[in-house]
Structures are given as structure tokens and as C-alpha cells.
Symmetry: C2
Subunit: 319 residues, 2 copies
Amino acid sequence: MANLIVTGCAGFIGSTLVDRLLADGHQVTGVDNFSTGQRRFLEGALAHQNFKLVEIDLLDLDALKLAFAGGEAVFHLSANADVRFGTEHPRKDLEQNTIATYNVLEAMRKNGIKKIAFSSTGSVYGEAEVVPTPEDGPFPIQTSLYGASKAAGEGLIAAYCEGFGFQSWIFRFVSILGERYTHGHVFDFYQKLKADPSRLPVLGNGRQRKSYLYVQDCIDAILLAMEKATDKVNIFNLGVDGYCEVNDSIGWICEELGVKPQLEYSGGDRGWIGDNPFIFLETKKIQSLGWKPKFGIRDGVIKTVEYLRENEWVFEARD
Amino acid sequence: MANLIVTGCAGFIGSTLVDRLLADGHQVTGVDNFSTGQRRFLEGALAHQNFKLVEIDLLDLDALKLAFAGGEAVFHLSANADVRFGTEHPRKDLEQNTIATYNVLEAMRKNGIKKIAFSSTGSVYGEAEVVPTPEDGPFPIQTSLYGASKAAGEGLIAAYCEGFGFQSWIFRFVSILGERYTHGHVFDFYQKLKADPSRLPVLGNGRQRKSYLYVQDCIDAILLAMEKATDKVNIFNLGVDGYCEVNDSIGWICEELGVKPQLEYSGGDRGWIGDNPFIFLETKKIQSLGWKPKFGIRDGVIKTVEYLRENEWVFEARD
């Protein structure tokens, strides 16, 4: 039993990880400011004797240093996970992804904690020249504030590993799907179709190729990597071994919902500024540790639609 | 004649660039907080009618927005340029290199300025797997807070190019030498030899391989690249086509000073935590624009020693 800290513990992936860590017998301290996290995601955890919730903002370094007391490792999942609206508030990515990560590292240093797992993103590759994109592909040029802020977080973590003897596991995710999913294209499409099942506005031409991973597969990979990968800085792409078009995903969502909307494309090969028309990560490295996803993209989309249908409260909670 | 802004205008490279831009007939607004910049470096500029000095800190975003009014392009040279002592004050690199760069970008956006030149560093390559290291070598793992903070600055700049239609020229420097040089190994060795010419403590084993560039060659390259390179994000390594050992450099310094100290090595292949034992950047890309350095590493070292000998005030100014 270890004493583990999870930032963003009330988020989609964070709360799912908390439940898993508790089920595995660990003590968990969860940190969240509930800016986008949902208290309902922690209902199970809060009833568990091994869970402690600390409700603070990661930008409050003094509070963070206190919160981390006694921890043995940190899962730093808190983030502004919004890729699309970065240009509307550029400071948000800087603060919530870069400065917050710096604060997490400083709070770790203060408390002698040296192990950190970090939820990075395939967006750090910008528009990758090599697809499927390996972890050590060409030095990328950032194309989004989100990707840039996460790449900056990665860089800080790696520098702390070299400078302060930390060890890190950095995970570059594709988009994650599944229970407690609260933002992204399935969320947006579901919400629009519920309001008007006869038509569906689609950003771009629908031909954007994207990759997705089911949340429990994601957590399996994180825990396996932390158990088996022993480098100072361990970087892993996490995703399924394939991709789909936005149009495929729309088809699965509509089929599941039993609707046949008129698709209204905004046009162009990108959904928004900084949108990457082709995301597909090479996952040989994590697979070499013995991991492979149990669910495919279509499974993930359908599980997400099923979850949203049974939990429509999340739409109001996020409004 | 353009209206150009130079941050870090009182620094080694910044003040040299200011003099060049004024000589080329431009209007120059220089920004500096004189934390490490030297007022004496601006003596010529301050006497020039086309130069305006704004004495503010880049962390003061409101002041920066005012200072940038009317500018057409920004040369963002202000930085914490200290690689070696990063772990003693990790917040310094974050603030002075990453957050300051964010502020520069925001001040540009406020004033409709869309062109930025940025002094990055070969340290963003960490311990590069490929040497000589090209601009698009493998996605590096950061090994210093300095490199990480500069890589973060690069990422922010590139994201602003994509998100806000900026255009950038990012220069990854080797160490720069020449007149107004105020920190780094020649500075340190000179200072130590002056105090005691009989012995010289050397960090590491002296076999570290490093590359250097003379400051006027550096400025030639920056101005040529901005004239000729037309991509949205233009990234160039700047350095000479070779490297020397620390021992070579010590030999040239001692020869120039006429001293024969006992060399006392601290040992190991690195001078300090995060020191990169082999820095050598591939410079084919900038050379393809027609640039090549007029001076070699030895020339740069000797010019620097000559400068320091004639300007020993800089040692007191930096103490």
C-alpha cells in the first residue's frame, strides 16, 4: 500500500484513476479545485476510508506543499484539457498546464517526493511529419497553446529528473473516451443531437483522422508503465493501433442514438485553428511492456454514448 | 526604416544588436530591467536620436503593453541566460524565460505586432542523440531548467504563430563570445586567473566539447534569416562548423594572458548537473541562406579575452 497523490482527482481520468488506486489497496490523496471536476465522480472515493480530498487550486503553491505531505508519488492529471478554445484565453494553458506543473514539482521537492506520472498529450507533436508518430520523432513545432503548455510541462518534469533526481512517467494521450467523459467531440455531438436530432453541424469536412483510447485501457497502461519502466524519464504514447474519421465516429454515435441527422460541414480539413487533421500515435513502446488495449475506438465511442445517456446531468454540470 | 523593439537591450547580445540596428538606420525601442544588463553597453545608443530606452521588467505585462506601442517587430533577447545555476532557483528560468516570453507575445498581440525573433539555445536539445544536431533531430528530453524554459518559450511562440498569425525566427545559439561578454566560461576563467594565475580550477575533466560563435557573426545570421526566411515558424541553429574542448579554450586564454596555471580538474565528464558534455549544432540550414561565420572559435575566445582585459569593470559590475 502506497500513499499516492492524484491531482485533478475529480476529473474524468483522475477520478477513474482514484477509484482504481483505492480498489488496488492504496491510500490516495486527491487534489482538485472543482473548476471542471465533478463532485459526483468522487462519490465512491469519498465513502472510502483510504481517500482524502484536498480542495485547493494548484496555483496556490503554499497550500500544495501542505497537501503533498506524506505522499510517495504524484499522478499529475489536473489540466486545462481544452484544445480548441486556447486562443480565446491564452493565459489559461500557461497557468493551468505549465505553471501548475511547476508548482506540483516544487511541492514534490519540498516533500521529498520523487516519482511523478504526467498526463501529456499527442498534441505536443503539433502536425507531426511522421505518422504513426513515435515518441522520438522529429523535434515538433507546436501548433496549439494546449500542446505548447503540455510540452512545457514535460520539459519541466524532465529537467527536475536531471536536476533533482526525480523519476517520471510521461504519457502522451490520444483523446480518451469512456465513463465520466465530460468534454470533446462525442460530448458535443451528443448535446447537439439531443437539442435537434434532425441536423448536426460538423467542424471541418468530417475527414479529420483521429485516434481514441478507452479510459480503463489508459489507466492499465499508466500503472503498467510505472511498474515496469525504469528509466529516469519514461515517455510513452498511449492510444489504440489505428484511427477513425470524424465521420465514422458520427456514424457510430447516430446509430447508437437511433438518429439520422443532416450533416452540415463547416468545411476545410481542420475543425478549428490549431486542429490537427491527422492524429495517430505509434504505440509500440508501451506495447513492448505487455500492454494492449482491450477496447477499440468504436467500443470507446459507444461506451461513451451509453454513459452520457445514463448521466445527462453532466451536460448541465458542464454548462 | 522600421520601428523595432529589443528586449534585453542592455545585455551582451541585445546591446550589440541595438547598435547594429541603429547603424542600419532603424528606430529602436530598447526594454531592459538592468538586472544583469549594463547601462554602459547602451552609451552609444542613448546618444542616438533614434533610440528610446524603456526601463521595465518583462513580468509587468501592463507596462510591456505600453512599451510596445508603435513597434513593428520584436527581438526578444531578454533571458535568464544562466545554465549552470538553474537548480538553485528553479523559478527564475520559469519566470524570466517562459512567463516573460508569454508576456512579450501578449504585448505584441495587444499592439498588433506579428514578427518576433527569439534567442533560444542549443540547450533545448538536452543531451542530443544526434551530433552535429540538426533543427529537426529527435524530440529531445530536457536536461536543464534553462533548456526547458527556453523550449517552452519556443513552443509558446510557435503556438502564437499558428493561433494568431504571428511569424517567428527562432535561433538556437551555441555559446556566444565577443565584446560585452559578461558571463560564461571565459569570464569565469579570466576572473580566476586574475585572482591567482598559478592555478585554475576546472569543472569536469576539461574534455567537454563545446561550440561557440562570435557575437557579430550571430547578429549577421539573425538579420539575414529575418530577411530571407519566410516560413511561419523559422528555426535556425547558430554556431560555427566545429567545436573545441574546454582544455583548448583554456590553452588559448592562458596563452593570451601569458600565464601557465596548474589545472585542477573537479573530474567527471560534466562540469555540473545538467551540463552537456558535447554541444555541436548542425548549421547547414542557416548556411543555405548564404551566411557563414567570419570568425572561428579561437578568434572568439581571443576577442573576448581582449575585451575583458580592456573592460575589467564588467567583473565588478557583475559581482
